[in-house]
Amino acid sequence: MNLVINGQTYQVAKDPPRVLLWVLRDELGLTGTKFGCGAGYCGACTVHLDGVAVRSCQVPVSRVAGRAVTTIEGLARGEELHPVQRAFLEAQTPQCGWCMSGQMMTATALIAANPRPSEEEIIAAMDGNYCRCGAYARIRRAVARAAALARAATEAV
């Protein structure tokens, strides 16, 4: 079965049935996507499936074949960070960093769908991503800033 991840095609076994998260991490070595709870509560494993944020611990890998998967490793274009990454770095957002791939993937999907999110829309979108270090104030600020950076980049084109 072929998976397309960050634009690259990988071949993985169809069986046994398993979820995308562990295929990414243990079979393909894409460990930027993190495991936190395995039950869809914490959001650490968030990736994009055809541009939509999903919990990779809840997605059977069989359902992903032929669809576009984006992980944190695919967010930057080479050396050039994605506006979300730039904003998270600028605000010195991560502490331990374990939840941050999921935070940034959730934020990226939000901004792609809604380039001008209100504070309430940011909270609604980000509320399912735990940060045990408690960096919420900076995450909130970074997402708003990322939206502005992304708009500026779009307008510049």
Partner: protein, 722 residues
Amino acid sequence: MSQPPARRWRVSRRGFLIGAGVVGGGLALGATLGLPWLRLALADVVDGAAPPTIVTTDPAFWFEIAADGRVRLAMPKVEMGQGIHTALAQIAAEELELAWEQIEVVPSSSAGPVADNFGTNASNSVASLFAPLRETAATMRELLRAEAADRLGVAPAALRVANGAFFVADDPERRLSYGELAADAARREVPAEPPVLKPSTAWTLIGASVPRVDLPAKIRGAATYGYDARAEGMLYGAVARPPSLGATLRRAAPGEAARRPGVVAVVAERDFAGVAAESRSAAAAAVRAMDLEWTEGPPLQQEQIDARVRAVPGRGVVIQRAGNAAAALRGPGVITAEYRTPMAAHAHLEPQAALVDVRPDRVLARVSTQYPLGTAQAIARALGRDARTVEVVPTYLGGGFGRRMVSEVAVEAARLSAAAGRPVHVGWSRAEEFHHGFVRPPTHHVLRAALGPDGRIVALEHSQASGGVIFPFIPAPLRALFGADFGAWRGACISYAVPHISVSAEHVPLPIATGAWRGLGLLANIFAIESFIDELAHIAGADPLAFRIAHTGDDEHGRRLRAVLTTVAERAGWGTPAPAGRARGVACSIDAGTVVAHIAEVSRKPEGGVRVHTVWAVVDPGLPINPDGVAAQTEGNICMGLSSVLFERLSVRNGRIAADNFGAYPLLTMRDAPAIEVTVLRSGDVPYGAGEPPMGPIGAAVANAVFALTGQRLRELPLTEV
């Protein structure tokens, strides 16, 4: 797995070790923390930190200058989000006169030569390493200066230094970089006299909010944590778990496990059963196919635990005494209140994980652990090996919060690797995290006070009882020596100037494993004390903030407390009315040398419960090495603390911890995270801790605000009854 190059060390003057075997011919200078470290360790024990273990003579940290001029700082402290790699590099680069880009931080491993005997905990990394790091860096600088002076044919005093190079003061073209000097400087003897340290007025890196060194990799998902560690030919391990608290293996046999697909090794021993297989799921499935018989643990209930945790004035070990509180509290009019805090999970988002490769002659391990040396010793004990042949390299940690002072997972991976003859990775599930290991202990506090006719506190007594924090991890003779668990009573002492004070602590052995949780006893003790102070202020008819200031002492702590209280009052507009439907509460604390005051502004949620809108925080860590880092730690402590204060309660039902996952144990999310306005004060040239102290006042600040809003005094965490 790669191993750092072996170094040999020669002992030099003033206790320094000069390294040989540096790649490409360079200079390495290491320092054993020696006697000052022992003194610090003792102070830590008294203040309530980690237990001391055997102190080796290996250097505790070292610098290395390669021939290409790169400077590496091998760091004894692990990075778990607190920014310690950045802060320590700032201190080092300052004294070494490096441009910020010229220093690189690498984690040091447990095996020779570096060993950190205490682990990373108790907010003591910066405080304990500030002086030795500076002196070592300055000594290295002076070694290089002596070499440069000889080579350039000028007196050492004629040289200036900047950006990792010496140059002649009146002829800047004549210069030599550290890289050019390193190999020959390594043959010199350390100067006899301690170097002159840079005056604080000349600092450019210490006190600057430089960006964190670990964030570029974390932003790209490229940082390696224990769960991410990989090796050629690695297997995955799974371990059989007891079905209830206190259950043990009665009998273990491989059963059908060995015949399951992908299984490489099955271990069935007296105290351990597990499987190493080609995938995690294969390992987990095979464990379920093992033939295991468990003893039954007692059908423990939460009420049984809570009933044991009961402070009784006069029964605990006295840890602070002034005047004669017992006599002063004998008359009528004594004010009494009781407070309780529940058990809590650490809930670091990266579950425990380790990759261990057991080879015939040595063991290599990569572990997200707060205590590499302790982990190496535990692996050595389990395998019956010499601890010096076990090397634990810490990875980044996906949160630590005290839980990773013990890394059982590394021992599990080691036992499976020993059986399989290949590297084995074990990563716990969230359910394993909730059910195994240890939790924050429940606490109970009885506060008693007497007020004078002028409304001042005449006598104040705090009696607290807690499950173990440090005691479960130290031998009985040491427990007897200390009497009370200094981890549990962290934060329990009274910082106000009161004529008669008595504080006592009672260690309560519990049928559930308890231990260190961020701040140890701090959150619970300050919740109790600072809520009670608020009660006294209201009884005295005083403004809670003015009441606190009126009770601060004339010493340094008193001055610093007044400064944070006054500042937080200004920032929050204390004294101006809160917006309609809201109210404010204040609380303060001193911990690990750092003074903190919080004001919380709250309202009642329409659906019930407390909404915290804003927290104003003022933190005085003495000398903030990285003010933005201190601010980040303050924000994080407030949110993690609020999660406990508003929501978290771990309980036991029928011999099991009731929560399996976050569905039954929700954490604070963004919606409940307040706006946080942090002010970082600098009160001197000595740094104190920042990783835990800002947690202290958050519980009481919110509870006091709830009282101001509703007149309801909530004396038990979490604050759910509003």
